[in-house]
């Protein structure tokens, strides 16, 4: 092999290596170009040098556990009627329905676990296991995990740890096996379930006073990340169709104006925990709330039925 022929080969091999070895990420500027249209994070004007060095960009959505924790700290109560019944699990045969409902079930599982519902937690862990198995996710929930869950059914800390581990196993397996579109659909399913649960915790006559409304408004922030994550995977037809559905939610959120004051950092605290101080100004009209609730319920019903 002469050097004249070797160079193009090596360059091409390097290019292919870079593309393959960066699963889920975006080397350099591709994510930024994709995101310019909607993402609100300001980028410095001249970043060409920096962008060369940025090997991976992650978009992180609230995990099901975080969603459940936020619901609880905002005054949610447990309502089993809001969960997607585990009997539905046998209905999900397509990649999209399995992925989205794995996110839905994992969020329901986290919600039930955090509200000390042991038997329901076991049932939802089994439903999640079945979907994970059907999606070919190896060892997301093994028999040892189920035994550990049953042996510690009254220990919330252990249960939460198992839920966290299960979610990490699923998302990391999908990432490692270059199945980011499935991971994106799973995360989006969980995000919509969290919004659905929050919307159904609000008394419509008490919108002004409800702490849950603040969380619903704040979901506008993570919605931007949902859209970026979906756009990153929109070459997949299932993701593209899911994106169309999420756009309907985005359209409603665009009617809500939220302003935030600059962040002040308070780091000199005895407990070592820095406080990021800022205020938010936002209002959710009853009409917009109704529209959001009905649209999210309709989309979520289409997922689970």
């Amino acid at each position: 092999m002469g050097s004249k022929n070797t160079m193009p080969f090596l360059i091409s091999l390097f290019a292919i290596s870079a593309a393959i070895l960066l699963p889920g990420g975006c080397a350099g500027n591709c994510s930024r170009q994709d995101s310019d249209r909607d993402f609100t994070i300001d980028l410095p004007e001249d970043q060409s040098e920096d962008m060369e060095r940025v090997k991976q960009i992650f978009y992180s959505l609230p995990s099901p556990l975080e969603t459940a924790l936020i619901l609880k700290s905002s005054g949610a109560v447990f309502n089993e009627d809001l969960l997607n019944p585990v009997e539905n699990v046998s209905r999900y045969m397509t990649n999209k329905s399995m992925a989205v409902n794995l996110g839905v079930y994992t969020t329901d599982l986290s919600y039930a676990s955090l509200f000390d519902q042991p038997q329901i937690s076991i049932d939802y862990m089994n439903a999640a296991k079945r979907l994970a198995d059907n999606l070919g996710i190896i060892d997301a929930v093994d028999s040892e995990t189920l035994e550990r869950l049953e042996a510690n059914i009254n220990d919330r800390e252990v249960i939460m740890d198992i839920v966290s581990e299960t979610f990490m196993n699923s998302s990391s397996f999908l990432q490692e096996s270059n199945r980011e579109p499935v991971a994106a659909m799973m995360l989006t399913g969980g995000w919509i379930e969290g919004l659905y649960l929050a919307l159904h915790q609000v008394d419509e006559d008490d919108i002004e006073q409800s702490r849950m409304v603040r969380i619903i408004l704040d979901k506008k922030l993570s919605l931007e990340i949902v859209m970026l994550l979906l756009r990153q995977n929109s070459h997949n037809d299932d993701v593209a169709s899911l994106m169309d559905e999420v756009r309907r939610i985005e359209d409603i959120y665009s009617k809500i104006e939220i302003t935030r004051s600059p962040i002040e950092v308070d780091r000199d605290r005895d407990d070592g925990v820095t406080v990021l101080r800022s205020t938010t100004d936002a209002r959710l009209d009853r009409e917009v709330f109704r529209e959001l609730k009905s649209t999210v319920t309709e989309i979520r019903t289409s997922f689970v039925s």
Binding site: I16, P44, F58, D218, T280
Partner: protein
């Protein structure tokens, strides 16, 4: 030679595709074994963000952090890597925390008075110019306080 070239590339691509999950699998084991321990009393949220980075390379992560929640960010890198630099910035890229001002500590604990979209910037610094740069796994994990 030129006619056989695409076939060769095809097999090279298959080889690399098969290697990639192995390297990523090591990253997951590293994140679980080492990084998760750094969360200590904070509950891991279950999200997994890890990549293989080489000296001089950076990664960015965008996430919404919620009002009244207390978080721990834990960043850790393979033993063979130098101390990992990380910064937390707001949406205008104002720096809220820089671990280079805190002896390159791998964790930062904070809570918020209103929900915010933040960016976490991570870099593996180049410490030995002229030598082959080291590569290794870098993981970013989030812990939640359940107190």
């Amino acid at each position: 030679m030129i006619r056989r070239f695409p076939v060769f590339l095809f097999f090279a691509a298959i080889l690399l595709t098969n290697l990639s999950p192995e390297a990523q699998g090591q990253c997951k084991a590293f994140a679980r074994r080492i990084c998760k321990g750094d969360l200590e009393r904070y509950m891991h949220d279950g999200n997994y963000h890890a990549a293989i980075l080489t000296e001089g390379e950076e990664a960015e992560l965008y996430k919404t952090f919620y009002v009244d929640q207390e978080y721990r960010i834990a960043i850790c890198g393979d033993d063979g890597l130098p101390d990992i630099e990380f910064r937390v910035m707001d949406i205008q890229r104002n720096i809220l925390y820089d671990n280079s001002e805190n002896e390159f500590g791998g964790t930062w604990d904070f809570r918020l008075e209103s929900s915010q979209q933040l960016m976490i910037w991570v870099r593996v610094p180049s410490v030995n110019p002229g030598r082959e740069p080291a590569s290794g796994c870098v993981a970013i994990l989030f812990g939640l306080s359940t107190r």
